[in-house]
Subunit: 152 residues, 2 copies
């Protein structure tokens, strides 16, 4: 199995859960904040989807595309679907050698890293915020929640 | 750098943040639950520390020690300190070859995995629950919170 297929499976084992949680955020709850300094639910979900796509574009040495004309008007479920598909495409486009390329993230996080580490950082960022989202969704009244990762 | 040193640095880049959040849980807040079905704060913190130690013991093919006689009576900060040190010791004890050994986790999660994957799963579990803990600690009134990971 190539590194791209392996990483894609790892990504989806968490993203499937992210998207399941996003599916539980009803229209009335998109502005839900646990505290006044917390990110509102929609902002948090959008931040997760967009950051992962941007990190992955950087790792794949491709310019991130503008995926929507007016993101604010698109439903969370549609954002989740499109960002997930486009992130998958970027991962699939990478060869084993691409995983070792040095990526300049000076502007994003002030350092240069091998592409593989950029992808792992993107995953940690996703898992961290998905951990936030679990608490949000439980506070919206959902008690039947998935495991934090879907094992193949 | 050996795989053990590399993994230890990765572990600490997150565990330092976990322990900083644990340090913010005051005695009055140990039973804090965001919702009636959520783990109370102390239970969540203890679960993170103990699970990581148990996963790492399994990966290092060592029997986990009983680190305290009566864990319920020990402060969260002391639990955090001791569990972190003992987890570090286990990681340091591993050779590069140990990272490829097959570990039987049939009883814990119903599958066998290479030690390296067991350790990565332990990290994902830590990052997930640390993501929960960030929301708890903000709800306890703390607004000056660290980044989700301390970059070397």
């Amino acid at each position: 199995m190539g590194k791209n297929e392996q990483f894609k499976q790892y990504f989806l084992s968490h993203r499937i859960v992210t998207n399941e949680l996003i599916g539980k955020i009803s229209t009335e709850h998109v502005d839900y904040q646990p505290t006044p300094t917390s990110m509102p639910a929609r902002t948090l979900a959008h931040h997760m989807l967009k950051s992962f796509y941007q990190f992955t574009s950087a790792a794949a040495q491709q310019q991130p595309k503008e995926l929507f004309e007016n993101e604010e008007e698109i439903s969370l479920n549609e954002l989740a679907e499109v960002y997930t598909k486009e992130s998958e495409k970027l991962i699939k486009s990478m060869s084993d050698e691409d995983f070792s390329a040095t990526i300049d993230l000076t502007e994003m996080i002030g350092t240069k890293l091998p592409a593989e580490q950029v992808l792992n950082l993107a995953m940690d960022h996703e898992i961290h915020h998905k951990g936030n989202l679990f608490v949000y969704v439980r506070e919206m009244g959902h008690t039947n929640l998935p495991m934090f990762v879907k094992q193949g």
